[in-house]
Amino acid sequence: MSSGVEHKKIALLDPSDALQIKEKGRLRDAMVSFSYPDGSLDTLKKTFKKAGYKAILYIPQQSLDSATNTFNVHYYSDEDISITTQEAIKKAIKAQARKIKMAELGLNEVYLKRLNTTVALQAKNTDSSKKDTSSSRVYVATALGAIMMFLIYMVIFIYGNMVMRSVMEEKTNRIVEVLISSVRPFQLMLGKIVGVGAVGLTQFAIWAAVFPLLYLGVGLAFSGKLKALQQLTTTSTSNGKDLEDLMFIIQELQNFNYGYIVFIFLVFFIGGYILYASLFAAVGAAMGDDWGEGQSLTLIVAIPVIIAFYIGIAAVENPTSTMAVWASIFPFFSPIVMPARIVFDPPIAQIILSIVVLMLSCLFCIWLSGRIYRIGILMYGKKTTLREFVQWMFRKD
């Protein structure tokens, strides 16, 4: 047993023999060992500690047959009962009750197994010109959606933070005053967002180019071993069903319209990045010289991203739910939620609406952040409160 898990010794008192220990066998559990001492409950209550028991399990007088719904058990101890112990006791007694009930009803395990039926669901489209969506397609789509969603989530955080740090660096360095005597603050902010975004895209492009090569390299290096491994798995799967599934998945992977998916992904990738990067730039400008001060502001920007991520997870599981549809249109969630849905072919009208809303929001956020930025970068040594942050949005030059 792993450390920290105690093997508990528990005294079981069943004076009415409701559990039929002698006929049906003793209770078994990995966590708890049951003993069956003689004696009354009252005497045992005094002596159980000395006898090395953790607790006494007392079965009161009651009947146990196929009509029994609830079975009462009393647990006596001088300390609180842990959840694991509770579960272990319940499990052991449940198993015993099942044995008793099965015997009474004349059932055995073979019959019970026969009650199970495997359902093979084949999804067919009512429009016969369209391809049928196989059930394995859903699994593949879920995985693809989750991956794209996660990528955008990461991009927003990593590159959004990069923009924020860069703004803060210029502010704390005091170089910003020289810079904005040459260019407009808005130009500087926009340049920063575009610049860091270009870095992000380049890094992604490198990953996209290197990853397949890496995969290929690993494949070649271990080709011999890989084959052995494959053989091992094929022989171990008795009916070959897993392999069949794998074949389906590989087949399905080729059935997606990647051009379309990648295009939509890039639109939301860039839109989501611009939206959040501009907000992060504003936060960076509003922050003081040290990191601690701006935490609350950072959080305000980060919270919608995190919420969007959780909605996205729900959306991959249920891509047509009302929440998923609305979240994929709401601009602060859509960059993460829509890519999660896109592999499930949502209506084109929703996609267009979402993109339009996102673009307008991007413009608005850039404008808003620009206003905060131009004031924030010249404010030194003062802690920015949320109130000031809002005031700056509406202040004239």
Partner: protein, 301 residues
Amino acid sequence: MNVLELQNIRKVYQKHVACDNISFNIEKGKVFGLLGPNGAGKTSLIRIITTITKADQGLVLFNGQPLNTTHPSLIGYMPEERGLYKKMKVGEQITYLARLKGFSKHEALKQLDYWLDRFDIGSWRHKRIEELSKGMQQKIQFISTVIHNPDLLILDEPFSGLDPINTNLIREEIDNLNKNGTTILFSTHRMEQVEQICENIVLINKGKNVLEGAVDQIKNDFKEHIYKIDFNGTLPENFEEHVTLVEAQTNSIKVQLIDVAHANKFLNYLLSNGTFITGFNEILPTLNEIFIKIVGGVSDE
């Protein structure tokens, strides 16, 4: 011709009035001093000139035109709070800032070579800023301010934090640029530097224009006819009946007289009483004294 004309500039930050109806002109080719204690509104004014912020009211004319987006490339600005990208190399840093001012890469590199050569620091080109000492960084800062040959050079407290050697070096460069036609706006709260460098000054306090004019003229206007007299031997016993004694030392006194004619009379009086005069000079007030007199010695520091 005026490089810069400020007309009734007013700037209010929330409830604080940073500039209140400030006007002055800077003549081309002059060294102009913008004086005032800390918090007087100097930096606010400079930020308006450098187009960092806009004035709430008033007009700024640069070469006779209202300030527009082409003007920043004609202005070189070294803020009081200085800074450079710490991780960037010296050469990259300076060319980057030159290109922000609209220089082509080729021009920027040419200018960089000239200045690195001038300061004899060609070997620093590939060093990161963070590897340099504070004084070295100040030199780089100065070069990046003047790299684009600005018409107007704005220096906000340029000598703060500089050692005497670097101070002299930068001063020489400022003089040199001025001789070649660059107009210089020099902002400081250290009056003694201004006396040495500037021809014209404007003095602001609490956002208001307090005093304006040529340094010599201002000093003359504020003189109090204080004379320093060096002598050998003894002074006449009752000389204090004729003048107000300001300060007395073994062989020199400072006295306040009524006017120039009075000075002549007093000198005659001393000579006729047998005092050996070795020096008789009028003491003009320093700008610092004038400043304290005007603002009552109260600053917002």
